[in-house]
Symmetry: C2
Subunit: 222 residues, 2 copies
């Protein structure tokens, strides 16, 4: 289920199979062309009805029900960077990471089986529409990483992310669990331990924040 | 109210006036020295009792009640950078921003009156103990900024944050509301419009993410 005008508009522009859109008259009218082209069932409802049906009480101009994609390994081209999430448990964090990946041009995320559900309403909402452009594939990370040779991992004791040499042929960037960081089994697959330099006194950064800072440093070079 | 072993430990190390600490026998024993030095009332409770009393069901080894600080302008030394928040509404975002500021050595945050409450349990929790080291002062931003001459503001159309010239004598960095960005009245006070370059297709970044990327770029230079 996708909620909110912006997210439903992004869904309509994506290749997800959409079952039903429920929207206000204004929303349905302004998206009439794409709704009819895609042959989507469109039902009118009031804002109050939409708020009652959804998980959120605000921004209720539309709701949609779409089919989940099968869990498939996304296409990864030479030169692509892939984000690898080792047990990101918080759905809001996952959604923020999806949004951030989309900002920085990362189209594929590989997530451990214990990572939050991509289709959790909080994940979809926090992604701010980027769920439609970024693919998340759930897999056992040591299996996925065993065939990968360039694997950066964010640790508290790696080399400075500001001077990291980023492989021009692409690679993987591993972000660890919110409380425990990267697990031992996954850490064994990391070829480049990197860290974000600290000026102050916080012990660590939020996982989505660390993802953004690492990707911003990557995109300075590549 | 401060919840969780890590946050209560940070509170005990801070200069907040603490009324009461409720903890498991293990927590109270391991903090017996500081509790007695500070003359804090310490009450023993089971994990179940702590979970029932707090806002969160996990990580319940301790709870504390402390006095809120008066709303005072923090000391700002020459060379210091100050973070300015223009209506950050989500308490979790605010807490993540406090944690990120602490990581990057920013000790003072000026927040508009509509910004989420620093003492909201979600803010305290998301700050991961950094609430004890970063001061947040609530004030009308145009008033505060009117006497400031070096004011950077994060926009979607500013100059590249990677090539920004950062003033060595310090300055302010304004981060706007999650949905609407920096308001018109505050934008008038901005002397340097900056932006985070985008590689991909997301429309915007989460406010806490934008804060982190801007501060990381600042700390490359200063």
């Amino acid at each position: 289920m996708v909620e909110g005008a912006k997210s439903v508009a992004e869904l309509l522009a994506s290749d997800f199979v959409i079952e039903t859109v429920v929207g206000t008259d204004v929303f349905l009218a302004s998206h009439a062309k794409v709704l009819s082209e895609r042959g989507v069932e469109a039902l009118a409802a009031s804002e109050l009805e939409l708020a009652a049906a959804g998980s959120y009480q605000t921004n209720q101009a539309a709701l949609a029900v779409a089919r989940m994609r099968p869990n498939q390994l996304p296409q990864i081209a030479s030169g692509d960077y892939v984000l690898v999430l080792d047990d990101i448990r918080d759905p809001g964090n996952l959604g923020t990471i999806v949004r951030t990946a989309d900002w920085y041009g990362i189209a594929a995320i590989i997530a451990s089986p214990e990572t939050a559900d991509f289709y959790n309403p909080k994940t979809i909402a926090a992604s701010m529409g980027s769920f439609a452009r970024v693919q998340v594939y759930y897999a056992a990370l040591p299996d996925f990483l065993s065939s990968r040779h360039v694997v950066y991992g964010a640790f508290l004791d790696g080399t400075d992310v500001r001077t990291t040499h980023w492989n021009t042929a692409g690679g993987c960037i591993v972000i660890g669990n919110e409380a425990n960081g990267i697990s031992t089994d996954v850490a064994r697959c990391v070829s480049h331990r990197i860290t974000i330099p600290r000026t102050g006194r916080a012990e660590s950064l939020n996982a989505a924040i660390a993802t953004a800072v690492v990707l911003d440093n990557l995109r300075r070079s590549l």
